[in-house]
Symmetry: C2
Subunit: 138 residues, 2 copies
Amino acid sequence: MDQRVSFITLAVRDLDASRRFYLDGLGRTAAVDVPGEVVMISVGERVVLSLWDEQAFEAEVGPVARGSGVPPVTLAHNVATEEAVEDVLATARAAGASAVGVPTRREWGGYTGYFADPDGFRWEVAYNPDPIGRSVLP
Amino acid sequence: MDQRVSFITLAVRDLDASRRFYLDGLGRTAAVDVPGEVVMISVGERVVLSLWDEQAFEAEVGPVARGSGVPPVTLAHNVATEEAVEDVLATARAAGASAVGVPTRREWGGYTGYFADPDGFRWEVAYNPDPIGRSVLP
């Protein structure tokens, strides 16, 4: 079993709201778009982000844990400079992201800030000067 | 803002249990391993899976939503044949995965089954003959 992630699937409550945010707001392009079911977005070499209608997700995977709080997962979009962190957060804010945080210098040497998609999934916009951070830059 | 996911970060309750499952059980290799803090595993071209201690995650991102049910996210590992789905699920079972499902022929034409990691994060092992599925194969 080689160590690959091929799809990242998020359960979304309102697929139309997700489509508006990711496609119209953030300007991403769908690779697959089936209204009422799923929107798939290529997010890397052989990696696809799938926004899947929550009812369909629950029917196949099981009931989702509810309750107040954030989902136990974040997705990071890494960039090459601290200035780019601020630019991307500004883009997210203009796209209607909620919970747009102030970028923060982290104790490990990075500079990152978060924003939330319509379901509260947190995206981290990150400048990470470590080797592992540099390894993910285009 | 180009459409990339650089890191997928999962909040894990017991990092030692996660390390045993992913590294010793599934045989994956850590790119970064800081006991008590984080284990990072390369899972694609410029994509890293980060297993982050839940307390540290919550201190930075916020309290995680609890409650019974599955996390609202799945990660898929796609393979080229239906037989490979069964092989990978058997490997996961041998590694101590819980909730190892029976692979199922899906109405959209695929053949997939799930297993759970120590925190209940679901991995889908998938044969997907559609163009989007073939696009993620190595």
